[in-house]
Symmetry: C2
Subunit: 335 residues, 2 copies
């Protein structure tokens, strides 16, 4: 259960999203991109290289996109909105860099990680700097409410990481605890992204909370589907081999569900899975139990919930349609 | 050049400081301590144990003390002041936890590090959480100006760490670059501590800046003296063996100055120093050049500057005396 792995499907979805949301969205996304590149370059050659690579390979900017879409209309002065969008991506990037240290991961999306290129020390420091820069970015133009939202989400991320370490290799972890881990590790930053957009747009608290609830559900579904992808394979989609979660002791929903249906799977000690071949074989057996289909169905139900929550809000047509499409794009990663 | 290592001298100094500053200071320090313990305990048993140990072994609370003293008088509502004091200590603690990962350090102040007890992954995540909690603490009650001050300091800390990695094993690093590293790695958090106290007290910007300048100089002297201590030894004072900086490739002022005076030292490649015995022998030779005395004199001159800057401010007698005593306590670590 590493953090989000955006896929080509998400990218394809973005074009339709942008059509629905209006032409200011790609312009603002481009401005976020420029700002991220500037931030990477203002800290000397070392950070420029390593943080720049990380930010550049950072995927499809799903979180900044959520910030922009949750704001709805184009603001007269976009500086706070842009800072929020850049900041969530910086926090996400910081997490990726530290995750790669934790997992000793050589590649991310086919690109060598900071850990692999510069070593542990450089990767820890680079993550710390990206993280600090996120807050510096927000405090330069943002309100205290916005910074508070980001700091809560980043506390949740770190707590989720600790929870994952605490539960490592424990096959008997409950579904509830697994879902809580997903909430902390992934969903709370999605929630914050949506809240930050709404806060920047000056929306009332009830609206901020409702958009946040949409983001939280979306993030939860995103992580569940990510964990299904790790077992189902399609390395072309994920850029990783199947079963990496099994190999690093991360027990996710597919295994939890499969253990209930297959005694031989229930008898497996996760620590016994040490080779890619063993992981691959266990993935096959998990899939054969129907656990993947069930986990996927659970994720889709959460997306339906998210969309229903949106429908209850009085959003403009374009905004509602764009957020709906983002929800669809998360599901389509599995297609 | 690890971050600050407070010593018994500092502790002894604190009693006198408290006498000068007034009885509200120990009460507020106790409140900070309580808050830090609460924060460690609100994140489950794993963080409670590891972060709690780190925070508990975190030394003499020099940075929170600076926050409280820079505020001057006792505020009617101390909540922002306490949050600032707790936050600077949390950022400092986060840095210590990550530094121990970077250095693979088994002990800090004689206590096993989080890295040694829980491993790399746990230590990275614990540091991230302490860091996030610092911002959460500030944003709960602080102003945007205060959060901005903290975020700039924490960016500087991470930049300093990157700079240290970039300059590792490079014996030809310049004094200017070394001083800039000290500024980033240590002095900017001292500066932020003083600024945060003044901000909490509602002081005008010029006063905030002037107190910040005092903190910056104090932090710079603190790091210089710390680096002298690493070469001069007195493991009883520092809780470490002498020459640890040499062993981990950190080139500090004593070596930089000694290389100018002794050709045989200038000819040493830092990578050749791999055993504690070799490090000890090189420390002896550095000391014999008089480089330690020079580095110490440079630090003392910075402290004199810091005090002179203070004298130009119109502080109350108690506050001026207390800050003077803090400056003295930093120098006394060398006694």
């Amino acid at each position: 259960m590493s953090a989000a792995r955006p896929t080509p499907q998400v990218a394809a979805g973005i074009a339709a999203i942008v059509r629905a949301a209006g032409s200011h969205v790609p312009l603002l996304l481009a401005a976020v991109e420029l700002r991220l590149a500037e931030i990477a370059q203002t800290h000397g050659p070392l950070l420029g290289r390593h943080a720049g690579d990380t930010i550049a390979s950072g995927g499809k900017r799903l979180r900044p996109l959520l910030v922009l879409l949750a704001a709805g209309r184009e603001p007269e002065d976009p500086s706070e909105l842009l800072a929020c969008a850049a900041a969530v991506e910086l926090v996400h990037s910081a997490t990726l860099v530290h995750d790669d240290v934790l997992d000793s991961a050589a590649l991310r999306r086919g690109v060598p990680t900071v850990w692999a290129q510069g070593g542990r020390a450089l990767a820890v420091a680079t993550g710390d700097l990206l993280f600090s820069r996120a807050f510096a970015e927000m405090t330069a133009v943002g309100t205290i409410a916005a910074v508070r939202t980001l700091s809560r989400a980043s506390s949740a991320l770190a707590e989720g990481e600790l929870l994952q370490r605490e539960d490592a290799w424990n096959a008997t972890v409950s579904v509830e605890r697994y879902l809580y881990r997903c909430e902390l590790k992934t969903a709370r930053l999605f929630e914050a992204a949506c809240e930050l957009g709404a806060i920047s747009a000056g929306e009332p608290q009830a609206h901020v909370t409702a958009l946040g609830a949409f983001g939280l559900r979306l993030g939860l579904a995103f992580q569940l589907l990510d964990d299904v992808l790790d077992v189902s394979g399609s390395a072309g989609q994920t850029g990783k081999h199947r079963g990496t979660d099994l190999l690093d002791g991360t027990v996710t929903l597919p295994l939890i569900l499969a253990r209930r249906r297959d005694e031989t799977i229930a008898a497996v000690d996760p620590r016994e899975i040490v080779t890619p071949q063993q992981a691959d074989a266990l993935c096959e057996r998990i899939e054969a139990t129907g656990a993947l289909a069930d986990a996927r169905a659970q994720a889709l139900a959460i997306v339906v919930d998210a969309k229903q929550g949106l429908a209850a809000l009085e959003l403009g047509d374009g905004q509602a349609r764009a957020l709906d499409l983002v929800a669809d794009s998360v599901v389509d990663r599995q297609a």
